[in-house]
Subunit: 333 residues, 2 copies
């Protein structure tokens, strides 16, 4: 049997249940959330996440350039820490480098990596370098700290919670469409969307702040698209969800783009992925206070896009019916 | 400029000094040793290491098989924790999987990984899976714990120290020679050496025990070959070293192999790499006691192979002069 018959999440489920079924020690949390959790002492926990990026799967080297690639490699990992509300404390970088990699490209790569590393006080403490026969391979592991019981998990959503996101959705997927479809003209608007795809902003400070507020229940980051990421929350919290499709935050730049229709823009927003905004559920009674505190701190509001409902469902209910793909799956894509 | 003009260690030095030059916070230790160190509380530290393995660079899939590959992927990382004397506590696994990977192969892979994970109480707590265009890509990150100030570093060697290793050297490199050179006949002896190459034994318990003994100063694991790994100790401890070439521990199986001459066997032992034994330096006054305690615990003795000398030198002095390669360098190989 080949892997694409299983699918990415089927693969993870199969192997984690089959070979790593032993209960973990008290305070540990393993496979299944944005970060794993290791207890540290009575007051703090260590959170860990790791992401693998491979050339021509996750990025096209000549399109993204060294600086943005270095920055994005760390950003997508910091986004996982943000999703748990953790403060970054260290990163580890493994590089598989093809023969034809230039020192100049890697100079730019490290400039970008160091830029974000300094911005979030997350020093690079180690790694591994090796040659690679074909494609540039990048693996980053990040460690963060959170106060005991302050972390936010996918399993913490409650019926009645407001579902919201920290920013506009779909720009990154629309940008990727321009990279993949050479027939589309790259005007200024297209370049804006492509830049959005190459420049994810991990919501590190937002995640830490939101995790500290009473009323914020579950949290995750939007890496595969809401239609996939929200399902993880639904499954682990054993709830269902209604998304008000007309409330999905779409940027002016995407809305104005005439290459894509109304439905395709919503599809980008729902299942395009790589937005790296935070998706969170908030106690409806506390939502006004949370939104106000968030606005005071960051000068922007949360986008309210739906509601958590009682009882588990494996499908999201959308107020507007439209053909929706299922979020990004690495093995069937 | 291409990377092979810099070399692997030139690359690491260049980028770590150029972009990650800021002093770390108190108690942190970054790039340059087997593990990075993060302070935890007044009593304990977290140690972290990561290793990237790529198909056709680090292994030939059909030669090693799934089970041994899974085991080796974790083993080479546990070996880094062992080198610092840390107790393993968690691992993270990233996989880049080509389309043609079978579920059966990955079943075997996970069986091997889980086998070692259970043996050393080092649960798999997370990871990432993605497709890979060409080669199977495996990145493992391990976390371990050590008592504050109990860890052993490459920088701790002292003039007069005895240099010793925990096991025979060169078997793995000889096994690799059989894999790469199809003209060599694979008799029983060859299969023993190949199996040695595929089945590294991380010296986890040995490392933890040795780190607890008074008199053990510096420690590292032998992944690139003594002629490279000892130089890291020399540089970071600012010392020099004499190796008594005739005392290098060579297994009966390698010594009896008629495909290789006397000098080539010593070259395997010195610069072949992937032995994953521990290389340590011990205060000469404490060496007898250390060796006795080690024998009592593990039923085997340390092999004494040389002496640490005063003053830094960037070349190792060998009592027998022979042509020696420099240990494995990923970019010039």
């Amino acid at each position: 049997m080949l892997l694409n018959e299983l699918g990415e999440f089927g693969f993870i489920e199969r192997f984690s249940e089959k070979y790593f079924h032993k209960p973990l020690k008290d305070g540990f949390l393993g496979i299944g959330d944005d970060c794993a959790v290791l207890p540290e002492d009575a007051k703090r926990e260590t959170l860990v996440s790791t992401d693998l990026l491979i050339e021509n799967v996750h990025f096209i080297k000549d399109e993204i350039g060294g600086f943005q690639l270095g920055k994005k490699s760390l950003a997508v990992n910091l986004s996982d820490l943000a999703a748990s509300g953790a403060e970054p404390c260290a990163s580890f970088l493994s590089l598989g480098l093809p023969k034809n990699t230039s020192v100049e490209f890697m100079d730019e790569f490290f400039k970008g990596y160091a830029f974000l590393s300094e911005k979030y006080n997350c020093p690079l403490l180690g790694g591994d370098t090796t040659k690679s026969p074909e494609n540039l391979v990048i693996n980053v592991t990040v460690l963060g700290k959170a106060k005991k019981n302050a972390k936010k998990l996918r399993s913490m959503a409650k019926p009645g919670d407001v579902i919201c996101v920290t920013g506009v959705l779909g720009n990154s997927a629309a940008g990727l469409e321009f990279l993949l479809n050479k027939n589309l003209k790259r005007d200024e608007n297209a370049r804006y969307l492509i830049d959005y795809h190459h420049n994810p902003q991990p919501r590190v400070l937002e995640g830490m702040f939101l995790a500290s507020l009473e009323g914020v229940n579950a949290m995750t980051d939007i890496s595969d698209g809401i239609s996939s990421d929200l399902k993880h929350i639904m499954k682990l919290s054993q709830v269902s969800a209604v998304i008000e499709t007309d409330k999905l935050p779409i940027s002016k730049e995407l809305e104005e783009n005439s290459n894509f229709g109304y439905t395709q823009k919503r599809q980008f927003a729902l299942s395009g992925g790589e937005d790296y905004e935070l998706l969170l559920t908030v106690d409806i009674k506390k939502f006004a206070a949370v939104n106000e505190a968030y606005f005071k701190k960051f000068g922007k509001k949360l986008y309210q896009i739906g509601t958590i409902k009682n009882g588990f469902s494996d499908e999201i209910f959308f107020t507007e019916n439209m053909f929706l793909t299922n979020g990004f799956d690495h093995f069937s894509a």
